[in-house]
C-alpha cells in the first residue's frame, strides 16, 4: 500500500491508490455476498428486532430520529 499523504487539499495520489484497492475489495466481496444491500439486510434481520432497538423514551411522533437520540445520549457520557 502506498504511504499516507502529508498534506493536500485535493485528492492525493495515496487516496487515489486507496480508492482503486477498495474497488477491488468491493468487487471481491460482492462476488462472495451477491447483492450487498440484501447481505447487510439479512445480517440485521438475523441479529436484531426493531422493538428491541427503539429508545424507551421515543415515540413515533418524536421529531428526532430514534438513532439520533441514541447518539445524542452518547454525548452526555452516560454510556
Amino acid at each position: 500500500m502506498a504511504s499516507p499523504p502529508t498534506a493536500s487539499p485535493t485528492h492525493s495520489a495515496w487516496l487515489e491508490q486507496r480508492l482503486r484497492e477498495h474497488k477491488e475489495e468491493v468487487a471481491r466481496l460482492r462476488e462472495e455476498f451477491g447483492d450487498p444491500a440484501e447481505a447487510l439486510a439479512q445480517f440485521m434481520r438475523e441479529r436484531f428486532d426493531i422493538e428491541a432497538l427503539l429508545p424507551d423514551d421515543w415515540s413515533p411522533d418524536d421529531p428526532r430520529a430514534p438513532w439520533e437520540m441514541m447518539m445524542e445520549d452518547d454525548d452526555s457520557g452516560a454510556w
Binding site: 499523504p5 487539499p9 477498495h22 474497488k23 450487498p36 434481520r45
Partner: protein, 190 residues
C-alpha cells in the same frame, strides 16, 4: 457546516464521488430492513433516503468515505444495538442472573462484558458488509496533515467554535479536510 453538505431531501441532488458519509446515514441504512411494514413514518422516510443513497452508490460503483470518527460512531451504535437486543430478550430474569441491580443499559454493559466479547464475529461480518456496500473505512494513519498548519487541538477548536459544530461533527470535518474531500452526505443539514 463549513463543507459542502449534500441534502438528500432534495430530489435529484447530485452526489459527488468519492464523498464523506455521515454516521446517521449509515445507521439508517442498517435499520432500514427492520422497519419495513412498520408504522414509523418519520423513521421510514430517513431509511428510504439511506436506501436510495446506497442503491445509487452501488449502481455507479461509487465510494463512500468513512472517517475514523464516523466509523467509531457506527460501531458504537452497533454495540448499543447488541446490548439493547440482549436486554430486550432477557430483561425479565436479569436481576436474578447478575445478583445486583441492573437499572439500564449502562449498568448492563458494565456488569456483562461477555456480550461484547461474543459480538466480535458479528462486528467483522458487519464491517465486511459495509465495505461491500461501497464504504471505504479510512484508517487514522491514512489522513493527511492539517493544511492550515495549525496543531490538531487548535484546528479542532477553530472548527467547533466559529461554526458552532458539535465536537464529533467538527472531528469528521477535520478528517474530511485531511483527506482532501469536502463533500459530505448526511441526513442532518447542519
Amino acid at each position: 457546516m463549513p463543507g459542502n453538505v449534500i441534502d438528500l431531501s432534495i430530489p435529484g441532488a447530485r452526489i459527488p464521488d468519492p464523498i464523506i458519509v455521515d454516521a446517521n446515514l449509515i445507521v439508517e441504512f442498517l435499520v432500514a430492513p427492520l422497519i419495513e411494514g412498520r408504522a414509523l413514518p418519520r423513521t421510514a422516510k430517513n431509511a428510504r433516503r439511506a436506501d436510495q443513497f446506497f442503491s445509487e452508490l452501488h449502481a455507479r460503483n461509487g465510494t463512500g468515505l468513512v472517517t475514523p470518527t464516523v466509523f467509531n460512531e457506527v460501531i458504537h451504535v452497533a454495540i448499543k444495538f447488541t446490548y439493547k437486543q440482549v436486554w430486550f430478550e432477557v430483561r425479565t430474569g436479569i436481576l436474578d442472573e447478575y445478583r445486583r441491580p441492573i437499572r439500564d443499559l449502562t449498568d448492563f454493559y458494565k456488569v456483562d462484558a461477555s456480550i461484547l466479547r461474543n459480538f466480535e464475529g458479528d462486528l467483522t461480518r458487519l464491517r465486511l458488509r459495509l465495505v461491500a456496500n461501497g464504504l471505504l473505512l479510512v484508517a487514522p494513519e491514512g489522513l493527511g496533515a492539517i493544511a492550515s498548519g495549525r496543531t490538531y487541538d487548535d484546528e479542532l477548536v477553530h472548527l467547533i467554535c466559529p461554526y458552532g459544530l458539535a465536537s464529533n461533527d467538527a472531528l469528521m470535518l477535520l478528517e474530511a479536510r485531511r483527506l482532501g474531500v469536502y463533500d459530505v452526505v448526511s441526513l442532518d443539514a447542519d
